[in-house]
Assembly symmetry: C2
């Protein structure tokens, strides 16, 4: 078996959202590498070795995957959602660039997945139906001031916004500040969607006007979407539909 | 059979990128509604009626789909990519909001798909590995000045950028202006990725530095991705890998 590396997206949780391309790559794998909870989603089978690892060791995990691929293993690195969106693909290429030259001749494929913002948006309608941006709210890898700057510029551009990693136990206060900045920059009651654990049995969706959004509505399993100034609600039983019109008038 | 409406994403082209959830919805459908080239991707079978329509009639198409669902048909509206990203979902909710009240009690589901920017990004590495934005470059439904404003703010925020609908026969000049604005706003040689017809037999990928990007490198089947100021290339045989590092230093 020739070695190689596939960096795949498992989607938000439901197996019905895993692409056949990813399923095929998993079926051919000799080794699965990833954050523990994502590796747990892969069924065990003879000939398959699982390599779960902790959070925040992305670069070491990527190096390990590349080493095994160079040794002739058929390695699959798993991410939740899409591997290219705040997930493992960038870490693998960082490791590749700083690693030995022979790694560059490996067969390396990135296989896309349904990223959390698209799954969350679909559950409420089409809140990302116009121009939008995606921002990782964790300041583990970038200065907090840059996050605030991007929020203000995104509001000025009137982008819809999708926030990954809004809040964690290690960062309890940042998301409160995000809501302050947004209220100050937007000055309206546009809808905010809190979509927790989309497509899993723990799924919970909540839609509130921006001034009523509270930090404790989000945790690390929550995707937060914010509408544009034009985003609309359609009332119905239960959670309303939320959509952003395609048109902006002159 | 109870009527209902599913608005589904067929992904960029390859059937291996269609989710099992969408495949299941298509198998249960009585009627398929969509832009002709997307409806053409659905195999005919007894009991299934195909309703292809022209471009730029999204609202009429959405109304037709809702009417059939209200008549008890099992309707699937198909989009390329993801239905919530510059596709049919927003049009259906626009039609729903302005339509008869009883439409609001219909079962309406949006089923996500692999949107073009994620498929294109995966083919070259991880160019969207940091904060990014998605902008529709067509000015059919918004003023051109708003597009330029968003480009300048996105560059100031140092977002990676994904451009949908960069160029068409009806709009031959806009994309040239986009490249002028970007060169003026960015003042560097960050990579630009032209990804045409990703995952189809006509796929063609090209990576050039921003100052060397030319309007004729894009057409309506091309997804254009622009890196951040930190995006990096890893040379190899053929198209280089392109990735945006996860970290921004203080």
């Amino acid at each position: 078996m020739t070695g190689g590396l596939a960096i795949v997206g498992l989607g938000p949780g439901d197996v019905a959202l895993v692409t056949p391309q990813v399923t095929a790559a998993l079926a051919l794998a000799s080794d699965i590498v990833g954050y523990g909870p994502y590796v747990d989603r892969i069924p065990a089978r003879p000939g398959l070795t699982l390599h779960p690892s902790d959070n925040r060791v992305e670069l070491e995990r990527a190096q390990h995957a590349l080493e095994m691929a160079a040794d002739g293993r058929r390695v699959v690195v798993v991410s939740s959602g899409d591997p290219g969106v705040f997930a493992m693909a960038a870490a693998v290429f960082e490791a590749l660039e700083s690693g030995p030259q022979h790694w560059r001749t490996l067969q390396i494929d990135v296989l896309p997945g349904i990223t959390a913002m698209l799954a969350a948006a679909a559950r409420v309608g089409a809140p990302l139906g116009h121009d939008f941006c995606a921002i990782n709210l964790s300041d583990n890898l970038k200065p907090w001031a840059l996050i605030e700057k991007r929020l203000r510029l995104a509001a000025e551009a009137d982008f819809a916004m999708a926030f990954y990693n809004p809040r964690s136990k290690a960062r309890p206060d940042g998301f409160a500040r995000v809501l302050e900045v947004l209220n100050d920059a937007c000055q309206d009651a546009r809808p905010v969607i809190f979509a927790r654990a989309v497509s899993t049995p723990e799924e919970a969706i909540r839609v509130v006007p921006l001034p009523e959004a509270k930090p404790e509505m989000a945790d690390m399993r929550t995707m937060v979407l914010v509408g544009t100034s034009a985003t609309r609600l359609i009332a119905r039983d239960g959670v309303p539909f939320v959509y952003t019109p395609r048109s902006v008038l002159e």
